[in-house]
């Protein structure tokens, strides 16, 4: 029987670091009782590449261990391990010899954990197994589901706390009202109104004899379509004024689902039917009220306020509320794609409202909008639906080609509109783009043909520096107006790209400018070049390489949708089966980075771009190390795909 005091001491040391921090006490003690502690002085060899595997994995408890590969007699640093890092895990999964060398970089205390013990832990505990799957991939230097597993683990890690806060709200099922008052389509409006007032309800569902939902009549319908109309229409059948069809869903929706749906559809009532279509019997109804009363701080409310706003300062208020909401969601560990869709919907609504206000103002001043369709475009991260924090505006205006002779009049109007909208957005809190990439800039408020020419020039004469500045244009997304114009522009870009193949290569090369760092060591970023930095530029070093890569591939594969980086990668996973796993990892990686950046930004009241390594905890560092290796792999794939080694300068 080993000494309890010592086993407990070792267990306490182990439990400081993942994955052991999640183990149950009894399991942890059992592991601790099997540990051997080794002391090493600087320069000692723990193992060398090619050595036979030892039946143990290692964890640095104090000090530092350098892992490196030897290629053509030259050392290539792979990682620097510090307190809590685990290495040499190959032994757990089989294989015969080490693929890396581990040398002691500074006086170290290393825990040796018997491979057999870890193997049995892995089969018993899913968190441990996912953790080691990640460590394993790392040590093999191959990408085998590293991130997907690591992120599953993260979900597991946070699920407990987020469930406690969040289950009470968003993941709770919204209970539909099931004792629904209905009427047939043939009764008169007057009769329907009487039922509503007798039952004291705000809406009534119109159903077929088979109880399939046909439409809905609400208080608003009665007010606007009946009371406000001249003449007596109260004796007309209800089907003439009902809103139809109704939006149908299946049961079991959570608050989060419903909030999203409300924000998207801008509807206030949802019918639950047997199979979720209008052609099956009605089972219940969920109204805006049900959703709102199930949760206090609600994006749908913010959305509603924006829609109802009459002045610019009201918009600013709502955007500030959205920022609070963002913080609540981040604290509750809500999925990033959910948060970014909400914030994008809200930002879009603000832009639309600013356009509506501005056109109304101009109309009052006697300037009518020309009968020429236009489309407001968001660019860059806002175009990719990734703007969580309020950063600079990047937008443009696109209008249909103008009959000869009216160019100046039309251009003048839209340029004025662009100017008004951008300064209104500035009042709402979106600062101006320092490079003046805005619809208020003469250059970026243009007709479809002019825009086609811009893109054609970028594509046919790609010039590296100009290209770098034009990437944000390639992420354009229609926000308001005639989306057909944007679709037409995209089609013409695809055609141009087919003509000038060299463009994609330049574009891809641009995505390879920044190789990812290796990992973190204490408060430094470990670089392949061995110039270790003490600040981490998450945008340039991790996010841009991924968003650049996703953009190139999305254009190469002619994906017509306006997608976020993560959505692009998920789409690419479908389109490129051999790279499916890598693409899915890249998508998760990007969302992880978005969250890290926004959390950092809120803490520092900045755009969150520069992160101090000391502010990252162990699990975040390990996740980032996996993210870096995913980025490396994505770049390698891009390099091969476009055969960039041939054109590298």
């Amino acid at each position: 029987m080993p000494s309890n005091t010592i086993v407990e001491r070792v267990a306490a040391d182990l439990s400081q670091y993942p994955p052991f921090d999640l183990l149950e006490a009894a399991v942890l003690l059992d592991l601790a009782s099997s540990i051997a502690i080794h002391y090493h002085e600087e320069g000692e060899v723990i193992f060398n590449k090619g050595d036979e595997l030892r039946q143990a994995a290692f964890m640095v408890m104090k000090g530092a261990v350098r892992l490196f590969d030897t290629i053509d007699g030259e050392e290539v640093l792979v990682d620097l391990c510090d307190e809590g890092d685990i290495f040499g895990v190959l032994a757990i999964f089989g294989g015969s010899t080490y693929v890396l060398s581990a040398h002691v970089a500074e006086e170290s205390l290393v825990y040796e954990m018997p491979a057999e013990k870890i193997r049995s832990l892995i089969s018993a505990d899913s968190a441990v197994s996912m953790f080691f799957a990640g460590e394993f991939a790392k040590s093999m230097q191959v990408m085998e589901r590293t991130l997907t597993t690591a992120f599953d683990q993260r979900r597991l890690r946070y699920s407990e706390q987020s469930c406690r806060n969040f289950l009470a709200h968003e993941t709770l099922e919204v209970k539909p009202v099931t004792n629904i008052i209905t009427c047939s389509p043939d009764i008169t409006i007057r009769e329907a109104a009487k039922i509503m007032s007798d039952s004291n309800i705000g809406s009534i569902l119109v159903v077929s004899p088979q109880n399939h939902p046909l439409g809905i009549i609400t208080d608003t319908d009665l007010r606007k379509k009946v009371v406000a109309q001249p003449g007596s229409i109260k004796e007309r059948p209800v089907h003439e004024i009902m809103s139809s069809p109704v939006y149908t869903i299946t049961g079991g929706k959570t608050v989060a689902d419903m909030v999203m749906l409300m924000v998207k559809t801008k509807l206030r009532h949802f019918c639950i039917t047997a199979d979720g279509t209008v052609d099956s019997p009605l089972e219940g109804i969920i109204s805006e009220h049900d959703i709102i009363t199930s949760e206090g701080n609600n994006p749908a409310v913010i959305m509603k306020q924006i829609m109802a706003a009459e002045k610019v300062d009201q918009l600013k208020n709502e955007r500030d509320k959205a920022e609070n909401l963002l913080q609540i969601y981040l604290n509750q560990d809500v999925a990033v794609h959910f948060i970014s869709s909400i914030i994008t919907e809200i930002n879009d609504a603000l832009i639309v409202k600013a356009i509506v206000f501005s056109t109304a103002d101009m109309r009052r001043e006697g300037r009518q909008m020309p009968d020429i369709p236009f489309c407001w475009l968001s660019l860059g991260s806002e175009g990719r639906k990734e703007q969580l924090l309020r950063t600079d505006q990047d937008n443009a205006l696109l209008y249909a080609d103008v009959p000869a002779g009216r160019e100046d009049e039309v251009h003048g109007y839209f340029l004025e509109l662009g100017g008004r909208v951008t300064s209104m957005l500035q009042q709402v809190g979106f600062s101006k783009c320092p490079a003046e990439v805005m619809a208020s800039n003469d250059q970026w408020c243009q007709s479809l043909s002019a825009w086609k020419k811009y893109f054609s020039r970028w594509i046919l004469n790609p010039e590296p520096k100009a290209l770098m500045h034009s990437t944000i244009f390639f992420d354009f997304r229609p926000v308001h107006g005639d989306a057909g114009l944007a679709a037409e522009l995209k089609r013409s870009i695809f055609d141009e790209i087919t003509k000038g193949r060299g463009f994609l290569e330049f574009f891809a090369k641009n995505a390879l400018q920044n190789p990812p760092p290796l990992s973190f060591f204490r408060n430094f970023l470990v670089e392949k070049s061995r110039d270790h930095a003490n600040e981490f530029d998450i945008k340039a070093r991790a996010m841009m390489p991924l968003s650049d890569a996703a953009r190139v591939l999305a254009y190469e594969l002619r994906i017509p949708d306006y997608l976020s980086t993560a959505e692009r990668f998920r789409k690419l996973a479908e389109l490129l089966p051999p790279e499916k796993d890598l693409c899915l990892e890249a998508a998760s990686a990007y969302e992880f980075l978005m969250r890290l950046r926004v959390v950092n930004g809120i803490e520092q009241h900045s755009a969150g771009r520069y992160i101090k390594p000391e502010s990252l905890n162990k699990i975040e560092r390990q996740m980032l190390r996996n993210v870096f290796s995913t980025i490396g792999q994505v770049q390698k794939t891009l390099n091969l795909r476009f055969q960039l080694d041939y054109i590298r300068d």
Partner: protein, 232 residues
């Protein structure tokens, strides 16, 4: 020479079932002394500490023994040992203040005889290591003498003397600067994080980490065999 005779006498009592089996296994194990040329990397060291009611060899009693083994530079947690010794008439005063052990813990331990026999069985022919080893060995020897008519026959390394020898050379007078070689001071000097002070197992674990570093230091000065370590 006297050791040989004591071992031989003990073993013959064993043949008449006069000693507990654990003690007999111990005597078997230590019958052959450790050859001086044995490499340190091949030796099982047992780093131990005793916790006592005080520092009087005649009156004070052992209330716990903790130990951990170290082989080929590795401290092996699975090969560790801890026993509480039942002492009926220990006053709360000394024990609680120094050792953090409660009287009820002590009352719930093994009896002295079984505890020390279990310890002998655990150490076998290992080389013993302790901080200020002389005192701990003397405390255990007194029990062994009373119960079994034997004593500790193992080679013993004192970490305080070893540290002094490696840092200052063998002829430095320790008596004047005893404070420099207390366990706390040594741990601090060798960057070992202090914890669990004053439980025997906790101190044994700290001493083991200290010995690990001293071994590494010793290798650099050419101390590679049992003979060199024990200065025999």
């Amino acid at each position: 020479m006297i050791d040989r005779i004591l071992v031989w006498r003990g073993l013959s009592r064993c043949r008449r079932n006069g000693l507990p089996p654990g003690v007999c296994r111990y005597l078997e194990a230590v019958r052959k002394p450790l050859p001086h040329h044995t490499l340190l990397s091949q030796i099982r060291f047992v780093v131990f500490d005793t916790e006592t009611t005080g520092f009087d060899l005649k009156k004070d009693k052992i209330i716990s023994i903790g130990a951990i083994a170290l082989c080929n530079q590795r401290i092996d947690v699975s090969d560790s040992f801890e026993v509480l010794v039942r002492q009926e008439n220990v006053g709360a005063r000394e024990a609680v203040s120094v050792h953090g052990l409660l009287r009820k813990d002590i009352a719930g331990g093994e009896d002295e005889k079984c505890a020390v026999a279990a310890f002998l069985d655990y150490i076998g022919n290992s080389v013993l290591v302790a901080q200020h080893a002389g005192f701990d060995v003397a405390m255990i020897d007194r029990l062994l003498h009373n119960y079994f008519g034997i004593r500790i026959f193992n080679d013993v390394v004192d970490t305080a003397s070893l540290a002094k020898r490696l840092e200052k050379g063998p002829y430095y007078n320790l008596a004047h600067k005893a404070g420099e070689y207390r366990l706390d001071t040594l741990c601090e000097r060798y960057h070992i994080r202090l914890h669990d002070r004053h439980t025997s197992a906790g101190d044994a674990y700290l001493t083991a980490q200290l010995y690990q570093r001293l071994l590494a230091k010793g290798y650099k000065s050419g101390i590679e065999t049992a003979g060199a370590m024990l200065m025999k």
